[in-house]
């Protein structure tokens, strides 16, 4: 081949090489762009899938045995896993509506302040990028997690908000943008929905427990009532049958007198029982119609103790009223509060042994409340039995109840009446050591008479 021909061939080969290089690079560039477009499409699709995945995963929380408060952190874990941000927090709006508190936070900024965060006009949706002007709203929201790039959603009706934050703008692949609204609002809605469900579930469970307790209490009441009615009624019927004309027993006059006394005792017991049941039955109606007035605590105690003295005398139990500040006045419904004291004194006397002492006192505490205390040294009860003693129709120890009488309504009635006064009843007791019952009235129902 001549030099000329060789030169032509080389030139052609060089042109051909240049052509293939150019084509290769052009095709490569197209491939690169297609690949990038495909990745971008997948990333966009992933965002849509992420919303669905988040909802699916979050709703699994609804099936778990979580309380509404337990939901927060696992919910944020799911959100962070799907959003791939650096930190996230759930917030609740304070009453009044101008400030929020962080209730759960994880990741960066998790040590966010628990103090109120002022956001006077919370937006329903917000996000920041490097181009977001530093205006008050952006400043307020970025200060929550102390992260510059954030995504925010707020649900006005429930006062709940969700914030996500990142340190760098190109978080994984891209900045936050308007298209993220669906994600964050979806996450917040799911959270709210699950919390509301859990709250409803808890309320239902509580109501069910109350209903079950009430049902059990009714069953116990019926059992108690049956027993308590039958015992004295048997006595009435039995002794009456023995005294009825034509009876085969033909009791002597002395026996007749003794039987009549027993019949009377049984009838009186039945009357007490009926009174107690009626009192408790009318409690709901009576509570709203309290007629409070200011009375001297000293006088109130003295008059109530006087009423109980007959019973205490017959049981050989002394009731002693300890010195009470004569200036101490309490604002109570005289009839209902006397009933409280009467029931407490009645119990104290009933569960004391002959020769024992019951002390009653009233005093004002440093916090302004007043405590009326009834203390006995009687049979007492185990501390774990105290809550049951405060529920109606409970028999702690059936044999003891039979021995001491009563349908177990005194304490529950006293408790309810005291609570209607805004007060509370507390009991300390030990078997064999006695019982101390404190009826505490709130400060607004306590004062010192000025003219003393």
């Amino acid at each position: 081949m001549s030099e000329n021909a060789q030169g032509l061939l080389v030139g052609q080969l060089e042109r051909e090489l240049a052509y293939y290089r150019r084509e290769c690079n052009d095709l490569g560039a197209r491939l690169l762009r297609l690949q990038e477009e495909q990745s971008q499409t997948f990333r966009e699709a992933r965002r849509s899938r992420t919303v669905a995945k988040l909802i699916r995963e979050a709703y699994r929380l609804a099936d778990g045995d979580w309380t509404p408060n337990d939901i927060g952190v696992p919910m944020l874990e799911i959100i962070i896993e799907n959003a791939l941000c650096d930190g996230a927090a759930l917030l609740r709006e304070d009453e009044g509506g101008e400030s929020f508190r962080v209730i759960h936070a994880i990741g960066a900024g998790a040590d966010a302040t628990k103090q109120p965060i002022m956001i006077p006009s919370p937006p329903e949706f917000f996000f920041t990028t490097a181009r977001t002007p530093i205006e008050p709203l952006a400043y307020e929201l970025t200060s929550i997690l102390r992260l510059p790039y954030l995504l925010w959603a707020y649900d006005k009706p429930t006062g709940r908000a969700l914030i996500l934050g990142s340190r760098s703008e190109s978080n994984v692949s891209r900045p936050f943008e308007a298209g993220d609204q669906e994600f964050i609002e979806g996450a917040l809605s799911v959270y709210i929905d699950i919390v509301l469900r859990k709250q409803a579930e808890m309320e239902l469970r509580a109501a069910k427990a109350v209903a079950e307790r009430a049902s059990a209490a009714r069953a116990r009441f019926l059992a108690t009532l049956t027993h308590e009615l039958r015992t004295p009624l048997n006595a009435v019927v039995g002794y009456s049958e023995m005294m009825v004309p034509g009876s085969r027993y033909d009791p002597s006059p002395a026996d007749r007198g003794r039987y009549s006394a027993l019949i009377l005792e049984a009838a009186q017991y039945l009357l007490k029982l009926a009174d107690g049941i009626l009192d408790y039955s009318y409690l709901e109606q009576a509570l709203p119609s309290l007629a409070p007035e200011w009375l001297s605590a000293d006088q109130l105690l003295a008059s109530t103790v006087a009423l109980a003295s007959g019973e205490s005398h017959s049981r050989q139990v002394e009731i002693r009223v300890m010195p009470v500040d004569p200036a101490l006045e309490i604002c109570i419904d005289p009839v209902r509060f006397r009933q409280v004291l009467h029931n407490l004194l009645g119990n104290a006397v009933k569960f004391s042994l002959p020769g024992q002492l019951v002390e009653v006192t009233a005093e004002r505490a440093e916090d302004g409340t007043a405590a009326v205390t009834v203390r006995d040294t009687g049979v007492g009860m185990r501390p774990e039995d105290i809550p049951r003693a405060l529920e109606p129709f409970q028999q702690l120890d059936p044999s003891a109840v039979r021995a001491f009488g009563g349908a177990g309504l005194g304490l529950p009635i006293a408790k309810r009446l005291l609570e209607a006064h805004g007060g509370e009843l507390t009991i300390e007791s030990m078997p064999g050591k006695g019982t101390t019952v404190v009826a505490r009235l709130p400060a607004e129902r306590v004062r010192e008479r000025l003219d003393t």
Binding site: A29, Q35, F42, I80, D86
Partner: protein, 399 residues
């Protein structure tokens, strides 16, 4: 003998408890821990101390973790490997001098490992990937690995490992150095000679350009390709300008690849060493690579990530691994997975870690972590740092 535990929970104590319960009973001689970057490392270390006493803990931060019962990169993952038998427990060498000089630190580590290791022993290398965050500078794995080989000497060694990151945004990194939580540290775990490693490297990039010569470079900063500004060349390929925050997106899009062996041999994914682009610099027309092991005169190609290729590569690699270890006593599967391969970053329709999780034979205890860079024996020669790869290793008793 060797047990693994994986957990995901925002409370570090709970995450540790879950992992510990998966490890079973016994007192481990050493723990290897990979901890999601959103956890407080000191809280995790304290929880591990409470559970195991003064057992040395090595490892560090991870952008995520992979276990048999789950995987993820939320930052709340925790993966533990517990070595219960002294016969399989590695000895550790630690350096905390990366910030001063990565190569010298690598050399110190290599020399320390050489004093323990026999010929051909397995050495796992883990190091803090992030030197500074503002401006972002990585501890270049190429310098550490180069230093390691220099310090270790000419004897054969099976070196593999990965760079430790707190997240996909390269926001930080830290190391469990046996006792404490430290920055700028690297650890080498020298395994007993009775163990050997089977390793497969799974790629995911293909060339989209002709060969280009690096005509101007300074460390990891590539200024010119074929005499033209490197950024201009890459922008022309991508068909879009890369400036400001978009420069960061290059990490997601293209890499520079150096083909080993015959440059004109048919395409083989295993022939390429890829370098991720950390950022584009419009002011200088340059791009910054993750590593600084390319030099003036290195012939490179622009590489495109290819998600389909990545997934195919994983399937192929896992099958290859299953075949290689079939019939042998496999003690541990360790998957060192480039964080960028997670579908949130790559846009892959399927999580490739899931393919490993489900594909690797179920009898092999598996733990993986999402890394900043992977280190593995390459093309039959010395180990090299790799980008955008998944390195799957199975430890087994030497035949």
């Amino acid at each position: 003998m060797i047990s693994v535990g994986y957990a995901k929970h925002s409370d570090p104590a709970t995450a540790v408890r879950t992992c510990v319960s998966a490890l079973g009973t016994g007192n481990p001689h050493l723990l290897l821990a990979f901890c999601g970057g959103k956890h407080d490392p000191h809280a995790v270390r304290a929880a591990l101390r409470a559970a195991f006493g003064e057992v040395p803990v090595f490892g560090g931060s991870a952008a995520g973790a992979v276990g048999r019962n789950g995987f993820g990169y939320s930052g709340f993952e925790l993966g533990l490997v517990a070595f219960f038998d002294p016969a399989v427990t590695p000895q550790a060498v630690v350096t905390r001098q990366l910030l001063a000089d990565e190569r010298a630190a690598g050399q110190e580590l290599g020399a320390g490992a050489a004093r323990i290791a026999r010929d051909g022993d397995l050495v796992m290398l883990f190091f803090d990937s992030v030197a500074t965050t503002s401006p972002l500078r990585l501890h270049p794995a190429s310098s550490i690995v180069d230093g390691f080989h220099a310090g270790f000497g000419p004897r054969p060694v099976c070196l593999l490992g990965g760079g430790l990151l707190t997240d996909m945004n390269l926001a930080g990194g830290w190391v469990f150095d046996g006792d404490d939580v430290v920055k700028h540290a690297a650890i080498a775990l020298v395994f007993p000679p009775s163990l050997q490693a089977e390793t497969v490297i799974m790629h995911g990039c293909r060339p989209v350009s002709t060969f280009m010569e690096i005509t101007r470079i300074d460390g990891a900063e590539v200024y010119e390709l074929d005499g033209r500004p490197a950024l201009t060349v890459i922008e022309r390929m991508l068909g879009l300008p890369l400036g400001g925050s978009r420069g960061h997106e290059l990490t997601l899009t293209a890499t520079l690849g150096e083909k080993q062996g015959d440059p004109f041999a048919p395409y083989d994914e295993n022939a390429y060493v890829n370098r991720l682009i950390l950022r584009a610099n419009p002011e200088t027309g340059s791009v910054t690579l993750f590593e600084q092991d390319f030099a003036r005169g290195t012939r490179v190609q622009i590489m495109s990530r290819d998600n389909s290729l990545m997934l195919e590569s994983v399937k192929r690699g896992v099958e290859e691994m299953n075949r290689a270890v079939a019939g042998t006593q496999s003690l541990l599967g360790l998957y060192i997975d480039c964080a960028g391969r997670g579908s949130a970053r790559s846009g892959a329709p399927v999580e490739e870690a899931e393919l490993v999780q489900k594909g690797l034979h179920a009898s092999i205890p598996l733990l993986g972590f999402y890394s900043g860079v992977e280190v593995a024996p390459f093309a039959g020669g010395l180990s090299r740092p790799l980008d955008w790869t998944g390195v799957l290793t199975v430890l087994r008793r030497r035949a």
